[in-house]
Subunit: 354 residues, 4 copies
């Protein structure tokens, strides 16, 4: 109820603050009988890990996941999978300056107003560190829905946009650069720009595109749990996300029905795919694709005026180790959340007909 669980049949519940002893979670509802590749889970975590390149936060965390239950001799048993990830490198003193100060456009103020108390160290529960647990959950979800392929990549950084169609892109190049953009030329520009932004003590936003292939037909539940509605909730629940669009999205609103309709081939596939692989909230077997908008990170290394818990105006300057642009590290999180949604609906669909 308090919003720390995601999914209905394949359910991830997470806990943990940025600067406590550990974060972790429980995956309940993972079917029995799946031989898990634990290395793949750690590999996904490593993609989200801080300190992996020069353009991300330099906090050093091994981010090693430890599984405590639910797996026996490498195979899921149908019982809940508990796991923890140690917080190895909490420099709590980095945060003493914000103990009584509300950082602009952060969750400091709203947590205080809501709960009357907060763990201010490193943003506490509102820290993006929490997303490591989502990556663990998503990595297991991927092994439930093995045939489905989920690929996300950086589609824009600030005004710099990847201007190529998905069909023109070579996804094997995504991991070839720290920006995670499959077009090397654009990636270089983006990287240069992020370095520049960082040197200014500033941050910048961007967008992630996600493409999902080999989706079985029939995933998604009408009415309120349409597949894209749940994907939207999943993405919008990621820190710093401000927008989500599926298929033709906002651009599609400018079209006429006669332009927008996806006409059928005889095998049930469609000639175009402005629908983004979902019709009436249910997957139709075509590729699902969507865009996710990330705002610029609120913590900047410039002086800003703000207020403290006494309502006094104070000046503050960001300290700590932060990302100049979250988008590159958000890629595995977007993929993980997509996997959680799909695994859940894949299970739900098993009970939709007799």
């Amino acid at each position: 109820m308090a919003g720390n669980s995601f999914g209905k049949l394949f359910k991830l519940t997470t806990f943990g603050e940025s600067h406590g002893p550990a974060i972790g979670g429980i995956i309940d509802g993972c079917p029995a009988g799946i031989t898990l590749d634990l290395d793949k889970i750690q590999a996904d975590l490593n993609k989200r890990k801080p300190g992996q390149s020069a353009i991300v936060t330099q906090r050093k965390e091994p981010d090693t996941v430890v599984f405590l239950s639910g797996i026996f001799e490498g195979v899921t048993t149908g019982t809940p999978i508990g796991f923890t990830i140690e917080n190895a490198n909490q420099k709590s003193n980095d945060y003493s300056h914000i103990k009584n100060t509300f950082r602009p456009s952060h969750a400091d103020y709203t947590y205080s107003e809501k709960y009357g108390v907060r763990d201010y160290r490193g943003g506490g529960r509102s820290s993006a560190r929490e997303t490591a647990c989502r990556v663990v959950g998503g990595a297991i979800a991927k092994q439930v829905i093995r045939d489905i392929e989920i690929v996300a990549f950086t589609a824009s950084v600030g005004e710099l946009k990847l201007d190529k169609e998905a069909a023109e892109l070579d996804f094997s190049l995504i991991e070839s650069n720290p920006v995670r953009c499959p077009d090397p030329e654009t990636a270089t520009k983006m990287e240069t720009y992020i370095r520049e932004i960082r040197s200014q003590g500033d941050t910048v936003g961007g967008t992630v595109k996600c493409i999902i292939k080999n989706v079985p037909k029939g995933l998604g539940e009408p009415v309120f749990d349409k597949l894209h509605a749940s994907l939207g909730q999943a993405m919008l629940s990621i820190n710093a996300v401000k927008g989500f669009e599926i298929g033709s999205g906002f651009e599609g609103t400018k079209l006429k029905g006669s332009q927008h309709n996806d006409l059928f081939n005889q095998d049930g596939s469609t000639k175009t795919n402005l629908s983004g692989g979902i019709q009436g909230g249910i997957s139709n077997g075509m590729d699902i694709y969507f865009n996710v908008a990330f705002k610029p990170v609120a913590t900047i290394m410039q002086k800003q005026e703000t207020i403290n818990s006494e309502g006094e105006l104070v000046e503050m300057q960001g300290k700590g180790r932060h990302d100049p642009c979250v988008v590159p590290r958000a890629i595995p999180i977007v993929e993980a959340m997509a996997a959680l949604v799909l695994a859940d609906f894949w299970l739900q669909n098993k009970v939709s007909k007799i």
Copy 2:
């Protein structure tokens, strides 16, 4: 589980197909002791009703809601509120031509694939008629959170965009024109365009902007149930919606943190509001605002090639009574879904601290 419920504490469950005897729903979790203004509920329904103007579907439905329980002597009793809305004017024969034919970009094909069976009459459960029940639920939700003001309006139709800031608009003009755009000049252009589109037997998309005022601080639950994530799910669950953005949205991704951060005033309000009234998933007391993208309606009155359930290519032409542009009638639905989200989180927030 099967996706026909919305909300956790204030929960709406709906039922009903477009051409069955009635649609309806149950609102469970409405607190006791609220004196309901039933006329306001019907008034909201009337705003969604077909046949209300020349630019919407001409299906005639009285759309009169009948309450069966949960209200005694005008006051909510804390027990579930059951209600029905008769389907008065089902012209089922209008749909015999689609019995075995899958309309392009409709839910016909995906429902058939998912369930193996479907009520093809008028789209059955996938019909936007289902949203009438959401309007009833939302209208009651509004009376739970009386002080919160929710206003939605048409922000674009096709390429025609309302190019004014919220502060420049007079919301009392929204209902002054059939398009539900608060700027009369733009409204006239939009109406003319919709008429033109209709005369072509075509349809067009558009966007809705929603602004929510007087939101208490503290609504929204970290981590997965961020306020804007639930608003996103709510909006994306409405028929024909393809995108959602909150606050600065997709445009905000182009900004730097130093431009995007909302600096505080001493009273905790912010000088700017690019956050859209939500930080860390929790309302901060500033106005919430978001945009919703609606694709063009799939049913067009032009000939289209499609397939039937035997996988044969067939030609079809839309019949029945459809909207050339759903946006005007979507306004009360957007408001209703927003109200459902806010009432739910308002209740949830009552148990967030001791």
Copy 3:
């Protein structure tokens, strides 16, 4: 959340007060593709109906269920099944005497304390009339789990106990007498006793035994949702129920492990069945059996002292039409709740392994 829903995958939500225009409900999660026998549903309702024999309440209700959605050409479509049952014979004036008076051992006082307001007519939502909706839900659930056989019968009325083992009983005789006891001799004694109790203006309690055959192995979810725990919740949620025991129950607590253990046959069945068909919360394929304790109905036709809403002592005498013993009419309700539990776990079990 407010407790008007039952089940997770096969979910029944009910609404309705005793003296409103109608009661009803929504079944969400019924799989598509089931050809429903609607007559069987009505037949179950008729078994619960008031006025069916001389030893039950003489309120006359046709209790005809009307289905509004989710069934197309006799087959479930996977969409929610909405239904209503009209309240035909509400004699609301029968209840004006309790408007401000709290009947002893009734829910009048607690509803008032909880909600601050109540629909006092006929007990409102706390009336056993609500269970008619459970019978509808259960009757559909039975058609989901067709091979499972659920039989309930009267096992005791007051001190009069059916002293035969299940194996000695002919269940086809249950409906041969108004008490619903499969042993005609005992049934006659019970009926005579109930008539005597009624002539005294009094009421009496009793117990129901339920036996479930052909249960597939594997139903039930550890840890909190053990099959018998959910059966227990289901039964204890029926009006007037004060106890539940599965298998050897309270008597079994007196035994030693060496006496109580059910030894295996080679095929996995057990030589004895003190476990009641469930081990570790999961069905083992043996018969499930349990007992349910019903207290005497609180409404008696004798004078009792009580208090009113002003806290004054007043004298009252039951009016209206009530059952001297609820047990005979509770039989179909016990069966219905058992069916709801089993259908839900049958669906849940479909996703327990890959």
Copy 4:
């Protein structure tokens, strides 16, 4: 969904097998602002701990709970409380003899049938070790509902019954003996009997009585979530429980309404309390009391015939460290589950009226 969570607003989710590295859980929905007494939590755990007296299992476990999140400077923050309890003393080799053998009346067979795979060491997830996590959750729940007093004690062991009314008992004596019976004389008899049973390599069942005082009026939700129905589910979900009765329970079924009704005092309290503090599923402010039936533990130290996974008849003899009677160690578990139910309904009741 998979049954490892308990509660709606105050929700405990647990994980862990008997012989994995650790068990643990997450409490989600604990309100912010509660100063937790961590010693009390550990004290409750110590009451459940193995090895605490001569009449319980001699497995040695420190059972030290480690909190990982949700508590900052001793105060709950409203974020999820994650915790682990190390499995220090897993003698996994004790269980190699049951790897392929199904112990009679255990969950071995049903887990295998359900999941196709199981962690056989020490019963895996079906081990009562899992209940340690419930005790942690319950101990925190008690600190949410501080004014409510929950007391459980041993009411019978085999045929030996505590034959005194609650009013005659001195609850401060419960912890004065290893049986946890408040009547020293009866306790001695029970202890002697348990020692005798143990010396036979046998086990015995018993019952626990629980009394809850200072319950606010209004807890419990009609219809399906009646307070006693949820208490029943809670108790029946504890390992080895076979029965539950509230108030007058099974004995009450023998009474007439004129005997059973609880007449009011002018202050709304009742002269008698056969209802057990709950009417219509809602607490009325009187003491809640109920009995819980525990079967004899299935693991006996005698030879038994059973089958293995090949369906062969084999002989087996219990090894490992087991309880001759679970009842004494079940006392803190019963209290914990009662606390979880009450805290949940206490929160739920906060949103029942405006």
